[in-house]
Symmetry: D2
Subunit: 141 residues, 4 copies
């Protein structure tokens, strides 16, 4: 299995397959690469907050799943240390969100990722940054 | 209505009552004060990720609800600008999480809050920091 | 004066000219655009910490100056709300640092900027993210 | 040497003694404990920015020194992974700043610290959060 196939196997078969919350959110994996992934999700009415707009926890969770998938795609089990998000545009029920994770830094112990979330009009709705600790334990694929 | 009663009315009747996602999570409001609140939530199996532990988006969402409630309790509509979270201990299905929001700074335009999340053993599971923009628009109570 | 000339005038004549600390650091302004700037700085021995490497406050300060210049270049006085930095590679005395600020989001009240710092070998040494509040007050140029 | 004496020896003799930038800033170590420290610093005119107020890099640097001292006080060499700061009140030349670092979390690999900066009127001027990686290498005391 080459690294690209391994990345897909880890994310699709081992992570997403068992990820109950990502499934509840209806997250679709559009693409997986080594150190990157693209997720898509349609905002449902159960995801709204008291202002009638998408709860910040939902957009964070989409980004956090993208972080987990992108950082584990190298084959080393990686866990989030610190994450931050800025919400730049209101998200409504029915919006179709795309989250693209890209790797900004990778060392033996740490990885830093940016996840940009856009809506169906290609407007940025949130900017997420995440740092992971690379445990050194390999995924068994 | 005094400020404390107003805080409770905004959070309980106007925010939580309409907050579909906080309801889905099963968030209970244990206490509301002026600039503070305490939430409680039991982690369900639908909230787990591909590692079989609580998805980071769930603990973030609990903290984010606490931020929204605490910052809006002053009677001024407030929206999140930037939030960050560090997960310090694994959260399991069945864990009973308490989130306490406290106000670190308040000016006419901005508020900064810390939310500490603990489990049933009183161990800190996450540390959250949030900055809100105070829009100047009053809640109609 | 067109917007580009105005940006340069604000940053070079009104901000940098009076910025004692940026001058102490020896910051050079390589380029200024609308919502962007590029700074350069050579690390001096007075900037080292107890490990004998560049103090994190110095690289932060270079990035923070870049944030201030980029965000004020629009002609509206802007002040930092929240900033974060991740140091990804050790910086030594004699290293020549380039900081490039780019605008990730701009609304009437807020701006979000990323500043990437690289060394003379074009290796990323720090990743900085800053959020500013746009006061609405214009620079008098 | 007991842990408290060891903490003081590491911070005072091994770190601060060789920390050129903290010395340039005029940082005084008021107190050192295990996982904590208190620093003090008077803001000089060389530390001002183009607005004529204290450069954000200076207050960050004071906090970052506090983070380094507090996290290394356990005797394990620790390096910053991710830090953030919110400036809550303008700092002027002549202001006397106190920075108190406290430990929010400690595991074998990671530590999380908060540093609160106040001025001579005991008003909070900045709130800093820092995460360090504990390398496992011991300080040789």
């Amino acid at each position: 299995m080459n690294p690209s196939e391994k990345a897909k196997k880890i994310v699709l078969d081992l992570m997403m397959e068992n990820d109950a919350f990502s499934k509840w959110m209806g997250i679709q994996i559009h693409d997986v690469g080594i150190g990157t992934c693209t997720l898509q999700c349609t905002i449902k009415s159960e995801m709204l907050n008291g202002f009638g707009i998408c709860h910040g926890g939902v957009t964070f969770a989409i980004a956090d799943s993208a972080l987990a998938f992108a950082s584990n795609s190298h084959g080393i089990k990686s866990v989030s240390i610190e994450t931050s998000i800025s919400h730049t545009k209101t998200v409504q029920a029915g919006d179709f969100i795309t989250a693209i994770a890209s790797e900004k830094h990778l060392s033996s112990k740490l990885g830093i990722y940016e996840v940009i979330l856009t809506n169906q009009d290609n407007v940025i709705v949130a900017i997420f940054k995440g740092t992971v600790f690379r445990t050194g334990k390999e995924w068994d694929v």
